[in-house]
């Protein structure tokens, strides 16, 4: 009814990636305009690499209207930490790092064993950092296709003064009129790439020619096969009795805590090959790679309620 032929042609250049990109840029700018003290959570992983490109598109030639922050578990892959620092420097943006090691030292986090997964405790360090800096909004790279509790979360997700998410009482979120209002002590988690899938992320990385940590590409690595997962051998993960170490071509689909993030067998050496594998895989990103989400049916929901990303 509204269209004429000429405009139709222009419109066909607007792909689904363009639509997702435009939505994400709009969301970031709303945060910048409406929140007094936002921060962007940057881990060095692929989703947050995409967030940074979206922030460049939203705010350049200005500096970002927020700093970057990483919650360092102390269990990160060294390649990822190196990349994190390199990318922040390249962008010329301020990077805040708060580490779980400090939370452990100060007795805020008490581990049952030294090498256990630290993912569940990230929330403590994150919430401490939020109150230290008085952040009222944290931009994160979570996607709804990752996990069934995330599939339920709003783009502007309200957290009470205890950092908690109440899935049964979320604010209505209509059109793209986001409600970013908080009282002191409360905060909003904002997920600009909520509607992106793993495949969208890889297609965008390809289209924008984004650099990512090397361990996302296929490489040789020592792994242990345990419960049909490949565990990367490191100072945190050593073979148990009866297990053997194999050297395999693998790549990571996510880069989290080294003690519980598993690579997948792969020959994909560039983005295009990763896109092919991603389109064909029959296992979800978390199912293939995150041991910590398998422990209980609702582990992500529980962690999110406690203040996790």
């Amino acid at each position: 009814m509204f269209l004429n032929q000429n405009k139709m042609n222009q419109r066909s250049y607007f792909t689904h990636l363009d639509a997702l990109e435009s939505e994400a840029i709009h969301i970031m700018r709303e945060v910048a305009a409406e929140c007094a003290n936002p921060v962007l959570l940057f881990s060095g992983g692929k989703d947050s690499v995409v967030l940074l490109r979206l922030a460049e598109k939203a705010f350049r030639p200005s500096h970002f209207p927020f700093p970057l922050m990483h919650i360092d578990t102390g269990h990160n892959f060294p390649e990822v930490i190196e990349f994190r620092d390199y990318r922040a420097k390249q962008l010329g943006e301020r990077l805040i790092v708060r580490s779980m090691e400090d939370s452990i030292q100060r007795g805020r986090v008490i581990l049952r064993s030294k090498n256990q997964s630290r993912n569940p405790f990230q929330a403590v360090t994150l919430l401490d950092a939020i109150s230290e800096f008085g952040f009222d909004a944290c931009i994160g790279g979570a996607r709804r296709d990752e996990e069934k509790a995330r599939a339920k979360e709003r783009i502007f997700s309200f957290r009470d003064e205890f950092g908690q998410w109440d899935p049964k009482n979320q604010r209505p979120e209509l059109w793209s009129l986001y409600n970013a209002r908080t009282h002191p002590g409360e905060n909003i988690r904002v997920f600009p790439i909520s509607n992106w899938t793993e495949l969208d992320i890889w297609q965008y990385i390809g289209r924008e020619q984004l650099e990512i940590p090397s361990i996302y590409y296929a490489h040789e690595r020592d792994v242990i096969v345990r419960n049909s997962s490949l565990l990367p051998v490191s100072y945190l993960v050593q073979p148990e009795a009866g297990e053997s170490v194999q050297n395999m071509m693998v790549r990571f689909r996510t880069v989290g805590d080294m003690s519980c993030t598993c690579p997948v067998a792969s020959q994909a050496r560039d983005v295009e090959e990763i896109i092919v594998e991603t389109a064909l895989t029959r296992i979800t990103e978390r199912g293939a790679t995150r041991m910590d989400d398998r422990t209980s049916e609702a582990s992500m929901e529980l962690r999110k309620r406690e203040g996790y990303f």
Partner: protein
């Protein structure tokens, strides 16, 4: 990137749809069936759902578990909040919002509906048209969803009777008349067994239409974005405070409707000042033209005082600049409307104080009659008058979704309490 395009055409059209209807009509089961039969379920998801179903003593997998992801939902076997799922076929990319049927959670249904191109309203063939079926169809039309599919579900429980299908269609079509959908399609199905969802099945041979997925893949979704009237609400002003960029002023935002070219004259509202577009930028790219719904940065020829909340337009149909307007309002909060409380209105990128000055009527969903009331409670839909502290630049929602919608926020609790759609009578 030839391989990439083979796998998922980059130009694939995006269709956003919701499932709606009354409690237990099978919305979540339908979405599960659609994902399952279109091979969009991953092995580990299937294993997890199979395990949970077995634990509960079910022989077959419970398809609703693919979307009912919250603990409370699984315990109670109901949907509480919208779940978003993504899948694609070689023809299209889909974003699904599975919405709850319980009246108590209507606001979550509206959340899902506000961004959809198409709604599937389910009806249980045994029960026929219920209040909630009507409510959801009406809400879908109110938020301007152009396309409606009426899925008459659980046909397996009525012997796949064509007679029953016809009766329900006849009854519902009377109600749907005048709701303004651009297209309406009735499809009989069994979400549980799969008939007429992805496959035709053997039980509904008397039905000559397409199965649901075929229909979703092929329906013509002319964009409901208005491509004529340029509307650009300024989101954030980009002023790099650096030596070489001292004079740079970029107006960032998303084009809500229409098209703009370098050199076009633009008027800034509400001030009325004019200038011309100098550049259309996005990061390292610059464009000659941009169109809705692109997010871009604009620079103009003159130094004008422009800030967040202002709107750039360019000829065509003019918006209104006003402090008073009428709207259809959905009250979403458990806390009833209180004339003594202050509300904040968010419209485009503008946030101002607002008052509801009149309640003209409330709509009775069953009869579509207008009732006079002086209070609004959760899930009420009413025609109201609004007055705001500073002028807003508005269009009628029917002409322009982006500049015709608003939300009300309670100033004390900060909750989003209502959603509004602006009405403008032709003068």
């Amino acid at each position: 990137m030839s391989v990439v395009e083979n796998i998922e055409p980059d130009h694939a059209e995006l269709l956003r749809f919701i499932s709606a209807g009354s409690v237990d009509d099978g919305k979540s089961t339908l979405i599960g069936r659609l994902l399952h039969d279109s091979k969009s379920i991953f092995e580990d998801q299937l294993n997890a759902v199979t395990k949970t179903s077995n634990k509960r003593g079910m022989e077959k997998i419970d398809l609703s578990l693919f979307t009912d992801g919250l603990q409370a939902e699984r315990e109670q076997g109901i949907t509480i909040d919208v779940a978003y799922r993504y899948f694609n076929t070689p023809k299209r990319k889909f974003i699904i919002a599975d919405t709850p049927g319980h009246e108590q959670y209507t606001r979550n249904m509206v959340t899902g509906a506000s961004t959809a191109n198409l709604a599937i309203v389910l009806i249980d063939a045994r029960k026929g048209v219920l209040t909630q079926s009507r409510r959801h169809a009406y809400l879908a039309s109110l938020v301007g969803i152009p396309h409606l599919v009426v899925a008459i579900n659980k046909m397996d429980l009525v012997g796949y009777s064509q007679e029953i299908f016809k009766q329900i269609c006849a009854e519902f079509s009377v109600f749907l008349q005048g709701l303004g959908f651009r297209s309406i399609e009735y499809i009989p199905m069994s979400a549980l067994l799969g008939d007429m969802v992805v496959e035709r099945g053997d039980n509904l041979d008397w039905y000559s239409g397409k199965p649901l997925l075929d229909y979703l893949e092929s329906i013509n979704i002319e964009h409901d974005i208005n491509t004529l009237d340029f509307r650009f609400p300024v989101q954030w002003v980009c002023r790099p405070q650096t030596e070489e960029m001292r004079d740079f002023r970029g107006y960032t935002g998303r084009i809500e409707s229409g098209t703009i070219h370098v050199g076009d004259t633009v008027t800034v509202l509400p001030s009325g000042l004019t200038s011309r577009i100098k550049e259309i930028l996005l990061y390292n790219d610059s464009f000659e033209t941009a169109f809705a719904p692109q997010s871009i940065t604009l620079t103009i020829e003159d130094h004008l005082d422009i800030s967040r909340g202002d709107m750039l337009i360019n000829g065509g149909e003019l918006p209104r600049i006003t402090r008073e307007f009428d709207a259809m309002l959905c009250w979403l909060s458990e806390q009833a409307f209180d004339p003594d409380r202050k509300y904040i209105i968010k419209h485009t990128t503008r946030i101002v104080k607002g008052l509801i000055t009149r309640i003209d009527y409330r709509v009775d969903i069953n009869t579509m009659h207008q009732e006079s009331v002086n209070i609004l409670t959760m899930n009420d839909i009413a025609r109201i008058g609004m007055k705001v502290q500073q002028p807003l630049v508005i269009d009628a929602y029917a002409q322009n979704r982006g500049t015709g919608c608003f939300i009300l926020i309670d100033e004390v609790s900060n909750n989003t309490v209502a959603a509004g759609m602006i009405c403008i009578q032709e003068s």
